[in-house]
Each structure stands twice: as C-alpha cells, then as structure tokens.
C-alpha cells in the first residue's frame, strides 16, 4: 500500500539530478555523492573500483532505505592531489 511504483526504481523524476555531491565538513578531503535511482548493482562495483585506487583512503556505499531508490557513496582521499 505504501510501496512506491516499480518504475520509480530507475526513472529519475524531473528536476532532480542524477548525481549530486556534498563535501564533508568535519573531515578534510572527504565527500558524499548521492546517486539517484541506483542500487547495489552499480554501488558495489563503484566501491570495489574505488578501493583499487591508491589515493583513496576510505570508500563505501549504502542504501539508506530499501524503498528509497538512491545510493550514498562516501569517498575520502589521503591528500588532494
């Protein structure tokens, strides 16, 4: 009854950007990317590839809620190169 429509899982509504970006205030060289309408399929691969980069100190992703179709990817670097 409260479930959103199934096509919401991949259709980005008008006005919202697909990828948005916010710098982290408390930690230097860290940021959070919000990618709309994606799930583990992309998130896990992104995270794996970020781990392979040498400049990356911290990389992780999460789905804040399974019924809200977006992922948050958090990346932090050793230094801004």
């Amino acid at each position: 009854m409260n479930a959103p429509d199934r096509y919401e899982r991949f259709v980005v509504p008008e006005g919202t950007k697909k990828v948005s970006y916010e710098r982290d205030t408390k930690i230097i060289n860290a940021a959070t990317f919000t990618i709309e309408r994606e799930d583990h399929t992309i998130g896990n691969i992104l995270r794996m590839q970020l781990h392979r980069d040498e400049n990356v100190l911290f990389a992780g992703y999460k789905l804040p809620h399974p019924l809200q179709y977006k992922i948050l990817v958090r990346v932090s670097l050793f230094f801004v190169g």
């Binding site: 199934r6 583990h40 992309i42």
Partner: protein, 285 residues
C-alpha cells in the same frame, strides 16, 4: 563453457566478486524482454477469474527479439514498433469433455488489434476503418525477421486455463517491452547464479588403500587413481569443477589432515537457466 537452448554456463577468471554479482543482478533485472502486459477480455465465462488469467498470460515467455521493439510509455500510442498483439479464443462446446487451454492457443495478429473501440462519434463510422485499440501503420509481417519466424510463445505446452463444457474465453493480449526491475515477468532468465571454483588440495601423498577409499568416498568422482609404477597407486584430483563441497572426503578419522577444501579466489562459474536463451546471448555479445 557450455551453451544449450535452455541454459548456459561459463567461467570468468580474474575478476572481483562485485563484478560477478553485478553481472548476475543485471542478468536478472535489467535485460529487456517482451511480455504480455495488457489483456483486453471480450468474453470469459470460465472459472478462472479475469485477473488471474491475465496474470498467467503475463508470465508466459514469448519467442521474440526485444531489440526489434521500442519501449511503450504512457503517452505513446500502441503501434507496430512497440506492441505485439496476441489473440486467444477457445470454446468448450456443451457435451464435449473438458478442455485444457495451453499456450499454443495464443495466435499472433501481425495486423494489430481486432477489437473495435467504442467511439462516441457516429459520424466517424462507415467510411474509414473502425478504430481499434492499436494503431498499426503497417503489418508486422513485413518486418524481415518475422517473415520466417512468426512470433509465438516459447513453450507451446504451458497450461493457461481449463474449461468445462459451455465455457468460453475470448481475449486479446498486448505484449510490450520491459525490464525485470518493473516486474519479474520481464526477466529473461529463469534464474542465474554463480559460484567460485572449488580447490581440493591433498596435503599429503595418499597411496594405495587410502587412495581407493578416498576415491570411493566422493559422490561425484572428483578423485582419480594414477599408477606410480611398482604397484603403488596415488590419488589425484581429476575434476575439481564437479566438486560440490559435500565434505564427504573429510569425514572419518584422519582425513582432515590429508584433504583441504578451499575456493579459488577469483575464478567464478556462472550458470544461467534461460527461458529465452537467444536473447541473452546476443544481448551480451
């Protein structure tokens, strides 16, 4: 590695677990297929309810290449580029025994819908063609791929409904393109899974009687005996791929020391059971 009409198995070596899993997720959810979405029911006097019948029809796999079609969104008219129309008309006469309606009763209509829309305008009749539920510009039979392969359901013996005497079903079904994320009927695979290649390592040399015992233990015959000469025999691992990790070879007293079961870290075996096999292969290549 293996490719049949209905399933396929292949290995990917040197990749990470995340990629194998994403592969599996994409195969299940994001490859497009055609499936019946709208069912226009003209007459249904059977005991199967309308919505149950429509649900069952949606799950019937259809043998057609989805790349030849476009997606149909809400504002579009259904035309020959995005809809495939099927018709089902079965009747069980009084006095004749019960009939089972199988999926081969679905007939493809290459010219589009035959059901006439009720229009309020009395003036638009007579001269022009009556308006139907689809707006086919040209017949789908003219598309070259369909000339030799008419569109039919993939398996002709799927039971859709059962009719008793005097019952009738008459309906028209429209199939559109979609992906598995929206509804599982659009998923091209029955299921897809992966596993990592098992690695069976013999920690010590196992000879003679112990070798025979080891060979007879494994239910899938992973081990083989090779002769060393001088009458001694040694056990070797012949088919690690077949190993199901049942751990039968480690049972018993001392076997733990002799046999270790592990997984090779980056060797993945993916297995896919497919309803519409051709589509998945050509989509991947």
């Amino acid at each position: 590695v293996r490719l049949n009409e209905d399933d396929m198995e292949f290995d990917m070596i040197g990749i990470d677990a995340a990629i194998a899993n994403s592969f599996r997720r994409i195969l299940i959810a994001e490859l497009p297929t055609m499936a019946i979405e709208k069912v226009l029911i003209a007459n249904n006097t059977s005991i199967i309810q309308d919505e149950v019948l429509a649900h069952r029809l949606g799950l019937v796999p259809i043998r057609v290449d989805p790349r030849l079609f476009d997606y149909l969104s809400e504002n579009d008219q259904p035309n020959e580029k995005n809809t495939v129309v099927f018709k089902l008309h079965v009747q069980c006469k009084r006095g004749s025994p019960r009939i089972t309606v199988k999926s081969d009763a679905l007939k493809w209509l290459p010219n589009g819908s035959e059901l006439v829309k009720e229009t309020r305008n009395a003036t638009s009749d007579s001269s022009s063609k009556p308006e139907t539920y689809t707006y086919f510009g040209c017949s789908q039979e003219t598309i070259p791929e369909f000339v030799k392969n008419p569109i039919i359901p993939k398996y002709p013996d799927i039971i859709v409904a059962k009719l008793g005497p005097g019952q009738e079903i008459e309906l028209e079904a429209h199939a559109v393109k979609g992906i598995g994320k929206t509804h599982a009927k659009w998923s091209p695979v029955a299921t897809a899974w992966y596993r990592m290649l098992p690695e069976v390592v013999l920690l010590e040399d196992i000879e003679d009687d112990l070798a025979e015992e080891l060979k007879s233990k494994c239910p899938v015959n992973v081990f083989d005996i090779e002769d060393l000469g001088k009458g001694r025999r040694r056990a070797t691992v012949a088919r690690p791929r077949a190993c199901t990790l049942c751990r039968e070879c480690i049972r018993g007293d001392d076997w733990e020391k002799r046999v270790a079961l592990r997984r090779v870290k980056d060797h993945f075996i993916l297995k896919i059971l497919e309803d519409k096999c051709e589509r998945v292969i050509t989509e991947l290549s």
